[in-house]
Amino acid sequence: MGAAAIGIARQRNLFGVVLLSGIYSFLMATLLVVLDAVDVAMTEAAVGAGISTVLLLGAIHLTGGTESKPIHKPWLPLFVVVVTGGMLVYGTLGLPAFSDPQAPIHQHVAPSYLNEGPVKTGVPNVVTAVLASYRGFDTLGETTVVFTAGIGVIALLRRRRPRQKFDDRDDGREGGK
């Protein structure tokens, strides 16, 4: 997975990049299954390897396929990235170790979901119970995000007649005066 990620960073052919990111998502989904997150894995597979790839390919088709060589030396981004990573390493050192049943996340809140969730909601898949009921408002928000994105894409890419498009560009010049 790491190799795929670095490959994405280095590859300049965008088709290659998209392909790699699809592979990456697939690997991610596999890993998620291993981690018992079946719902997430299913979604990641559908979204990461499916929708995203299709979307990216569509976009590349509309915009062209290769990336030009970067002009700047990447020192500043590198610095930012290293600081971010360093901060995270520092932070995670303070967290409970992997698969520690005594970790707070397994002690607080989650047991209630697992114990009473299926009883109170009648839904054995606790993920669904939490998603749709306990944290149903989050999911409403999520749906709204999808809605927003959908409407947004319509607003941005609505079909317009060529003449209007010309006007648009002209307006762009106008505004800069």
Binding site: T121, F147, G150, I154
Partner: protein
């Protein structure tokens, strides 16, 4: 051309299965992995598949733009409406317990409608994005720019 025919036939056969699979994912979400979002994606994928094979215009005929846009909105309305129903029946917002005399039934009912709302919006949005992106290419070509 022959390949085309095979594809068309395949598509005709596959699409009902896809829709069935989607509804399985939708309703089985209570017991196994899956739910509204995944179901929505699959439904959208079925139509997109249809569009890829029969061409965008025929897909647009089957599922017209206006309907898709309306569905985008309706999904959210269904979801938020469940919440309002909770309010009207004397509970808090998104309170499913009050949707039926039996709280557990109420929960079931609530989750069902909520997931339906998600599926409607997600499938419609995915479809719409496909329409828009695919349609864009044609327009861009038509303008000769």
């Amino acid at each position: 051309m022959r390949l085309d025919v095979i594809l068309r036939v395949l598509a005709k056969l596959l699409i009902p299965f896809a829709v069935m699979f989607a509804s399985y994912v939708q309703f089985h979400g209570d017991f196994g992995p899956g739910g509204g979002f995944q179901a929505g994606v699959i439904i959208a994928a079925a139509v997109i598949f249809y569009g890829l094979i029969y061409g965008l215009p025929s897909a647009r005929e089957v599922v017209p733009d206006v309907l898709v846009e309306a569905m985008i909105a309706i999904g959210v309305l269904v979801y938020a409406g469940v919440g309002i129903a909770g309010l009207l029946l004397g509970g808090n917002y998104l309170d499913y317990f009050v949707l039926d005399h039996d709280p557990v039934h109420g929960q079931h009912r609530g989750i069902f409608w909520v997931e339906a709302g998600v599926a409607i919006t997600v499938s419609a949005v995915m479809l719409k994005i496909f329409y828009v992106f695919a349609g864009r290419r044609r327009d861009a070509g038509g303008e000769g720019s």
